[in-house]
């Protein structure tokens, strides 16, 4: 806004602003003083942006085109890292495909589940506050504690989950995290359990409380049943919220790391070797910093593409009120 104002006032009235006034975009002595204080207060973040964002982003683009192992310094090798990732790295495609499999299972269950929980909590049942707090608790568990306690819960022989499953007559419950065939489902289960009653649900709940009561009453007059009201009133009004939560869930799922790293270390036999784990091991276990930077950019581009696709396609089905 400050810039726009200046452009409108051409030629600038240099009362006593002078050069300094032009630089900071101010005219009077008072405005200059204020502008300078503005810069001073913004300074920590300006430095932060340069040191922890801008600089690192440029550096990591560059590292992606270098051979860089610690100890040592980066040596430019062009596209070699990317060629290696796409054609030679045995774990590149499998880890991408694991990540997508995880995302495909996690996102629908977590988002739909959160929506159903929110609808349930919006029915005015007694004890709603208590249940909301209880449903939210898993989301508060730090990732490492979450993974650790589920290692025990899913323990094939002693774990209470399989104890319950055997109790209800399932003879051979899965070995969960211990078996190649089921580890991915185990990790998905852990993440879904922790996410379903969390922020996603709270955002849905806020969205539901924003749906005007009159609309339900009008639908009631027209003889609409519960499902019809949900389908024709709640759902259309909630689509922006659903969309927002979907984007967040996809981004979160594609970055899945901590729970898998603690619960399975990516195993057994790479069954839960997600892309973020691949980046982490390349970078911080083998110290292939150049190659890992290239991998990180592959992930960044995938995330941006997904966000973009979701923003584009949403125009067809997202209902914004008054829009």
């Amino acid at each position: 806004m400050a810039v726009a104002q200046n452009q409108l006032n051409v030629p600038p009235v240099r009362v006593n602003g002078g050069l300094l006034g032009t630089i900071v975009g101010a005219k009077t002595k008072f405005q200059i003083r204020r502008a300078i204080w503005g810069y001073i207060f913004a300074l920590p973040w300006v430095l932060g942006l340069i040191i922890f964002w801008g600089g690192p982003i440029l550096a990591s683009i560059y590292y992606g085109f270098t051979h860089y192992e610690v100890p040592g310094s980066p040596r430019f090798i062009g596209l070699e890292n990317y060629v290696q990732a796409f054609t030679k790295d045995d774990l590149f495609w499998p880890s991408l495909s694991r990540t997508f499999q995880f995302t495909a299972m996690y996102v629908p269950v977590a988002v739909l589940g959160a929506l159903l929980l929110a609808v349930l909590l919006n029915q005015g049942l007694k004890g709603t506050t208590f249940f909301r707090t209880l449903f939210f608790m898993p989301h508060l568990i730090p990732a490492v504690a979450l993974a650790v306690l589920w290692i025990y819960l899913l323990q094939p022989k002693f774990g209470p989950i399989n104890q319950i499953l055997r109790g209800i007559g399932i003879e051979n419950p899965p070995n969960w995290l211990a078996a190649k065939s089921s580890a991915l489902y185990g990790v998905t289960l852990i993440n879904v359990w922790a996410a379903i009653g969390g922020n996603t649900m709270l955002i849905f709940l806020a969205g539901l409380q924003g749906v005007p009561r009159e609309l339900y009453e009008a639908a009631q007059m027209d003889g609409a049943g519960a499902w019809s009201k949900f389908r024709n009133v709640t759902l259309p009004l909630l689509t922006p919220t659903i969309f927002f939560n979907l984007v967040l869930a996809v981004i979160g799922a594609l970055k899945v790391f901590s729970t898998a790293w603690v619960a399975t270390q990516g195993g057994p036999s790479y069954a839960t070797w997600f892309f973020a784990l691949h980046i982490y091991t390349e970078a911080f276990q083998y110290f292939h910093l150049g190659y890992a930077s290239a991998l990180a950019w592959v992930l960044a581009v995938i995330l941006l593409i997904f966000t973009f696709i979701q923003v584009r396609t949403s125009r067809r089905w997202v209902h914004y009120e008054g829009g």
Binding site: V3, V24, R34, I36, W37, Y39, I40, F41, A42, P44, W45, G48, F52, W53, P56, I57, A59, Y63, L117, Q123, L125, F131, T133, L134, F135, F136, M137, L140, P142, A145, V148, L149, W150, Y152, F158, P160, Q163, W193, L202, A206, G207, Q220, A226, F244, L248, K255, F257, S258, W261, V262, A276, A283, F284, L289, A292, S293, W297, A300, L303, T307
Partner: protein, 302 residues
């Protein structure tokens, strides 16, 4: 809704209203049953963890494992704090220290920066704010490696500095955005009156505006504390000796260290787990109102 439904049905034929009433009772009961089932799904693993942390090693190894400890072993919690080679007490201290420093840094610097964005006019301000919002789009993985190189060159490996120092540089886009939105709701007359009285800009910020920001500061503090306390990737990358660990990496070390003692440790691991998650639940319990507000605000942002 339920009330409206029953009034409508009362207006209908007598026998119809009976059926309606039964239907509704059934529906209501059904909803409660579903809710209780879900409460079991979300509550049981937590309950089981707490119960396991109170068992004896013998009870942990029994098959089939008992659901409840015969006598709750509260001394497990004392025992886990003073294990040889598993310095849980040190980890608790480290986690607390890092969490406090991160939270202070985020609160102080993000509110200063937000004050600048909300109340001052200078060239480049709106551009700077746009960049701030854009940083949210980029995944942390991209900046992680160069930051590692930076801290490595500074000689900050195996110290807590990489974990909390960045928080003192503005506290990140989310914090700045949240604070700025709040500053914009405060009337500008307040600043101007103080300015006329000769107060400095910093004094206006510190003595007049900040005290009015208590609710949003509480929101931000809770969200930041939970994030900092739970952070795993940062400590995993930067810390490598057990006496520097935070609880996140320490707990993982504990689980993966069977050679520490010949005694089975599972019940103590469960106790450490409970000790690690409990503070967050307590903070959430007392600050629930602020926390929910913050989540909803960040939702609206999108």
């Amino acid at each position: 809704m339920a009330v409206a439904q029953s009034t409508v049905s009362r207006a209908g034929a007598a026998q119809n209203s009976w059926i309606e009433w039964l239907k509704q009772l059934g529906g209501r009961t059904g909803l409660y049953l579903i809710t209780l089932f879900l409460a079991f799904i979300f509550g049981f693993p937590l309950f089981w963890t707490v119960m396991s942390s109170l068992k004896t090693p013998g009870e942990m190894a029994e098959f089939p494992p008992p659901w409840l400890p015969a006598i709750p072993q509260w001394e497990n919690y004392a025992q886990v704090l003073f294990l040889p080679r598993i310095p849980v007490t040190v980890w608790v201290w480290n986690s607390t220290l890092v969490t406090v420093l991160v939270t202070l840094g985020v609160l102080i610097t993000s509110s200063l920066v937000a004050y600048s964005f909300a109340r001052f006019e200078y060239r480049g301000r709106d551009f700077l704010f746009m960049i701030t919002l854009a940083t949210v789009m980029l995944p942390a993985q991209v900046t992680l490696i160069p930051q590692f190189v930076l801290f490595f060159n500074l000689g900050w490996m195996n110290s807590h500095l990489p974990l909390w120092v960045p928080a003192w540089f503005g506290g990140g886009a989310f914090a700045i955005f949240l604070m700025r939105q709040f500053f914009l709701t405060l009337p500008k007359d307040l600043d101007e009156a103080a300015l006329i009285d000769g107060a400095s800009y910093f004094r206006i910020f510190w003595s007049i505006l900040l005290p009015l920001c208590k609710p949003v500061l509480a929101t931000l503090a809770i969200i930041t504390m939970i994030d900092a306390w739970s952070d795993f990737l940062g400590p995993l990358i930067y810390l490598n000796s057990p006496e520097k660990f935070t609880l996140a990496v320490g707990l993982r070390f504990f689980v993966n260290a069977p050679d520490v003692s010949s005694e089975p440790m599972d019940h103590l691991i469960m106790a450490a787990c409970v000790m690690y998650m409990l503070p967050m639940m307590i903070i959430f319990f007392f600050g629930q109102r602020f926390f929910v507000q913050g989540i909803v605000m960040s939702g609206i942002k999108g």
